[in-house]
Symmetry: C2
């Protein structure tokens, strides 16, 4: 399941100009193990391999790593903010309205179709965020709402 060795993670942290600490390694490992996790979920994961870490530390680490460009935060209706490894691949998210699970979806239609709103009203558009809402395969099998 681990795509990255600790050594690789250490290099990524240091490469971003940040000090390498145990909580930061643990957070990166947690995101690697469970992408699209929120702060609480990351905290739960981190606690198991680095007990004594505080939830506030996790928030701080997530914010620092996001600012440094190692992680990306995305927030969507009805859920806490979630984090994933930052990849400059312009992908989007498909979220299940029932179980809130998240799938990555590449943005393939042309290059970056959604970057061009029809009328931009003078806005300098920097990024376009696309979220697809629907029912995941598992939840489609459920008879009704639980």
């Amino acid at each position: 399941m681990h795509e990255f060795t600790d050594q690789m993670l250490i290099e990524r942290i240091r490469g971003a100009g940040l000090k390498v600490t145990a909580p930061r390694l643990a957070v990166l490992r947690a995101i690697d193990a469970g992408p699209h996790s929120d702060a609480e979920t990351v905290f739960g994961q981190v606690k198991t391999d680095l007990p004594g870490t505080s939830l506030q530390a996790v928030y701080g680490v997530l914010t620092a790593l996001t600012t440094a460009g190692l992680l990306r935060k995305f927030e969507s209706a009805g859920s806490a903010g979630r984090y994933e490894r930052y990849l400059n691949d312009n992908h989007h998210h498909m979220i299940c309205t029932s179980c809130k699970s998240v799938q990555d979806v590449p943005c393939v239609v042309g290059q970056a179709p959604c970057f061009s709103p029809a009328a931009n009203h003078g806005f300098a558009v920097a990024i376009a965020e696309v979220t697809f809402w629907g029912l995941c395969p598992a939840c489609q099998l459920q008879p009704q709402t639980l």
Copy 2:
């Protein structure tokens, strides 16, 4: 500024199968006057023309009107949930990263281009939500962040 008379608003509420009450009228008027408002903003507006209304009532009214299909709620990173009149026009939003102001943008590229993710992983996609982030004209004139 008022697009709708009270009589029209009353008909819309009743048409949705809901009882017509003063707070509901006041909330619809507030949304009409300030689209893309959050609950607190609506509350501030409502208070002026119907003092004694509670914030919780505003939350309740917003939820009821949203469930009934008269309003649409949208939530975006860094802001509280906002409400607008529901229009079945598949429009999207352009939000200023600096001042958080919102502009509607029609979805014109073809019909509903964003409804078709490349690989849907078995998801039954119901809606696609597109948010453009950037700097509004006013904030582009600011030398730097305030």
